[in-house]
Every structure is written in C-alpha cells, then in structure tokens.
C-alpha cells in the first residue's frame, strides 16, 4: 500500500509538472513569441490556469487515497516546490522572481487540487471534461491575446536645499552607503548604489550601478538645468531577475523650486511589463520601482542637505 501511494505521489508530481513544462514550452515558442520581441511574455494563464490544471492532474492521481484537506494542501505544497525547482533550472528564474511568483503558484496549485478533489468525488465525466476544456480554452485565448502593459511610477520628496544645490546630485551621485530598508533589497535583490555621468550636457551617457555590479546604461534626453533631467535606458543588465519580465524604458527627475530654499524632487520611471496578470505583477513592479526611487532620492536629499 505504501509503495502504491509512493508511486501515485511520484506520478502526481512528475506528470503535473511535465504537463506544465510542456504547455509553457509550446506556448512560449509557438504562440506568445509571435507578439513580442524580447523573450516572450508570461501570460496570466501560465501563472494561474496552468497551476490550477496541475493541481487537478495531481488530484486525479490522489483520488483513491482519501486525503484529508491538510494532506492535500501539504502534497500540493510539495508539488509547488518541485515546480519552483524546475522553473529555476529550465527557465533560469532568479530567487527573487521565484519568491514573487510563489504566492500565485502555490495558491493556484492548491486551488486546483481542491477543485480536482471535488471533480473526481462527483465522478461526472461530462462535467469534468467541460471544466478542463474550459480552462484549456481560456489558456489558448489568453495566449493568443496580444499582451501589452506599460506604466509609470512617480514619487516625491522635499529636499531642504535650493535646486542649484540638488541638481548636481541628481545628475550623478556618490556611492550610497545607507543600509537597505526595503525587504526585497535586504534579501538580495540588487539595489541602486551609484550613478555616474560622462558630462553635464544633453546626450551625455549616464550609468546607474546596482549593488551586484549590474549597470543600467542611460542617455540624457532632456537636460534642463535645475529643472528636468530625463534619461532613456539604452541597455539594461541581462539579470535573470528582470530579463524578459520588465523593461525600464525611461527615468526622470523633476526639480521644483519651492521659493523658500527647499526643492520638491519628483522621480518618475516608465516601464513595460512582460509578466501577467498585471493586478499581481504590477503591484510588485510599483513597489520595487518606488523603493528604487526612494533609495536614490533619499540619498540625493542627504547629499544636498549636507553643508
């Protein structure tokens, strides 16, 4: 019996994960890539429908084991861990990405396992085929749909110094030594540490250096001294954490003279997302971008206010 159950578990983990790998590979190379240039997109259905189907598949192998809800949740958790290991090996995903994706993945696999349990208890084949057919139809429709999402994040701080004093620190700044406050930076996500520029003029090349040594190459496209510094990102690092998931397109610092010796510093970033659903990933993207802004802007504030 023990051997039989072990075999069922192995089949549940292997077949559900092979299914996921197979369907994502088909989707990535035959469907979605036709819409985009950079490494394809990960559509909503790949993070929700596929894991739900994985849960249903695993529930099919567990259907005669009479599992309690706790056992079903535990086994689904293990199934999700197998998926995460496979994603890091075959998709080359970074640790931070996997942390970000895991709530969606675990939630969907567990949901699928419970849907599967309910389906196979009823044993209504027509209904079961309809549910799986509907999910596959959603998957195909979502994959064929052209995904495009761009957003902008804006943050503001007040610097107790006039714009002339702030400007030089906006264009380039010395290395940030302040400890990271944001939890994702603390656990290893690269954070901005330094910005260099080849000159104080329009068209000058700028570099934003991150804690792991990766560099964003930038070009100043608006140079309105003491007012507006806008730079286009010309090259972003090939880091697995961001590659094919997000493109930072443009950054901007606006300085507004408050007329009382202080400056309102506004940081704007424009980005394009390649991971969906946006209600989930854009929440993360906004949070990360905001914390990149704040780390840089607080450093600029500190440098500018130091006499």
């Amino acid at each position: 019996m023990l051997k039989k159950n072990l075999f069922r578990n192995l089949k549940a983990y292997c077949i559900s994960n092979f299914f996921a790998v197979g369907i994502i590979a088909i989707n990535k190379y035959f469907i979605v890539d036709s819409h985009v240039n950079v490494g394809g997109v990960f559509a909503f259905s790949e993070f929700i429908i596929v894991p739900i189907l994985m849960g249903i598949i695993s529930a099919w192998f567990w259907r005669d084991m009479n599992l309690s809800s706790g056992e079903l949740t535990g086994k689904s958790l293990l199934n999700g861990c197998v998926t995460i290991v496979l994603a890091s090996i075959f998709l080359g995903e970074g640790v931070i990405c996997l942390i970000i994706v895991s709530p969606l993945l675990f939630g969907s696999i567990i949901t699928g396992a419970f849907i599967g349990r309910a389906m196979f208890r009823r044993n209504n084949n027509t209904l079961n085929v309809s549910i799986i057919g509907l999910m596959l139809a959603i998957f195909v429709a979502d994959s064929l749909y052209a995904h495009h999402y761009e957003n902008m994040v804006s943050d503001t701080i007040i610097v107790n110094a006039p714009p002339q004093q702030v400007w030089k620190n906006v264009v380039a700044f010395k290395r940030i030594k302040e400890k990271n406050k944001y939890w994702l930076f603390r656990i290893g996500m690269p954070s901005p540490v330094e910005s260099t520029v080849e000159g104080y003029y329009l068209g000058a090349k700028r570099k934003c250096i991150f804690s792991n040594g990766y560099t964003f190459d930038e070009k100043i496209v608006t140079y309105d001294e003491n007012k507006n510094l806008t730079f286009a990102i010309t090259n972003q690092p090939r880091d697995p954490e961001i590659m094919g998931h997000i493109d930072i397109e443009q950054g901007q610092f606006l300085l507004k003279d408050n007329g009382n010796g202080t400056t309102t510093l506004i940081g704007n970033s424009w980005y394009k997302l390649y991971v969906f659903p946006t209600w989930y990933y854009d929440t993360w993207a906004q949070s990360i971008t905001r914390n990149v802004h704040l780390r840089v802007m607080e450093h600029i504030k500190e440098l500018s206010e130091t006499k």
Binding site: I48, I52, S68, S69, T73, P103, G107, I109, I115, A118
Partner: protein, 162 residues
C-alpha cells in the same frame, strides 16, 4: 489579513478565480499555523454530508460550501470563517450568545459570520449549519404545503403568495 483583504481589495473577488486563489493561500497559511483547522473543516464536511439531500461544493469566492437541494446552507473560508444566511430573528437571538457576528461584508442582513478557532467552535459551527439546514427544510415544507393548499390549478398564485 483576511479583514484587510476583504475590506480594501475585496472588490477584486469578482476577478475570475481570484477568490479561489486567495482561499488556496488561506489553506496554505492554515497548514502552517493551524493544521487542525483543516481537519475540523473535513469533520464538518463529513458530518453535514450525513444529513439528507446535502452536498458540498466550492464556494464561488473560495472555501467549502454546503448545500441543501442545491441551495446554500453556508460556506467556510479556509481561515475558518463560517458565513451563512439565517433569518434576522434567529440571528438576533444568536447574537445574544456573543459568539457570532454580523457577516463581514453584509451588515444588517440575516447573514452571520463565525470564526472557527477551537474544537468547541467546530461543534458550534455544526449547530449553526444545522439551524441553517433546518431553516431550508422548513422553507421547503412550507412551499410544498402552500402549493398543496392552492391545488394544482393555483400554482401561479402559490408562487406569488407563498
């Protein structure tokens, strides 16, 4: 956490599968923090399914739903929150015990909420579900009686007045 989500981003429950997904995460949370809750939910399900003409299904916003002849008796989200519809007078009576509360979103209705946190709560949840079940049976009987009183030709009136 559940209160925060239902209060501030509860509108997202209308996004297909999102309620289920959230409930899946609640199961995961319970698995680590209070595994016995998942067992109690199984025990409640086993007991309720012994009652005649009851079925269980997945609630549209996630969780385990119990039905009598296809009508909802109540549902339990995977954080142990039992939601069910009683009538206002039964609700007012139960509120005196100070164990149940207004439904977390539908205030001033017959809906109630009850958190299952202990094994005693599980027993109380079963009592509540039984009340809901009996209410539905009574409603069903009343409809049958009404239909019988109006007779076969008066079915339209029976539907209108019962």
């Amino acid at each position: 956490m559940f209160r925060f989500v239902t209060r501030y981003i509860g509108f997202l429950k209308s996004v297909p599968t999102l309620g289920w997904l959230f409930d899946g995460l609640l199961k995961l949370w319970a698995f680590f923090t209070q595994p016995s809750l998942l067992d109690w939910m199984d025990e409640i399900e086993t007991e309720v399914l012994k009652w005649k003409r009851t079925t269980s299904s997945i609630h549209k916003y996630g969780g385990m739903q119990f039905n009598y002849k296809g009508k909802e008796i109540g549902h339990i989200h995977s954080n142990g929150l039992l939601n069910m519809l009683l009538n206002r007078s039964v609700k007012a009576q139960l509120m005196l015990d100070d164990r149940i509360s207004d439904h977390h979103t539908f205030k001033n209705t017959g809906w109630i909420s009850f958190y299952i946190r202990t094994v005693e709560d599980k027993e109380y949840a079963l009592k509540l579900l039984r009340k809901g079940y009996e209410k539905l049976i009574e409603k069903d009987r009343y409809a049958d009686r009404c239909l019988a009183d109006w007779g076969p030709t008066g079915q339209v009136n029976a539907i209108a007045y019962c």
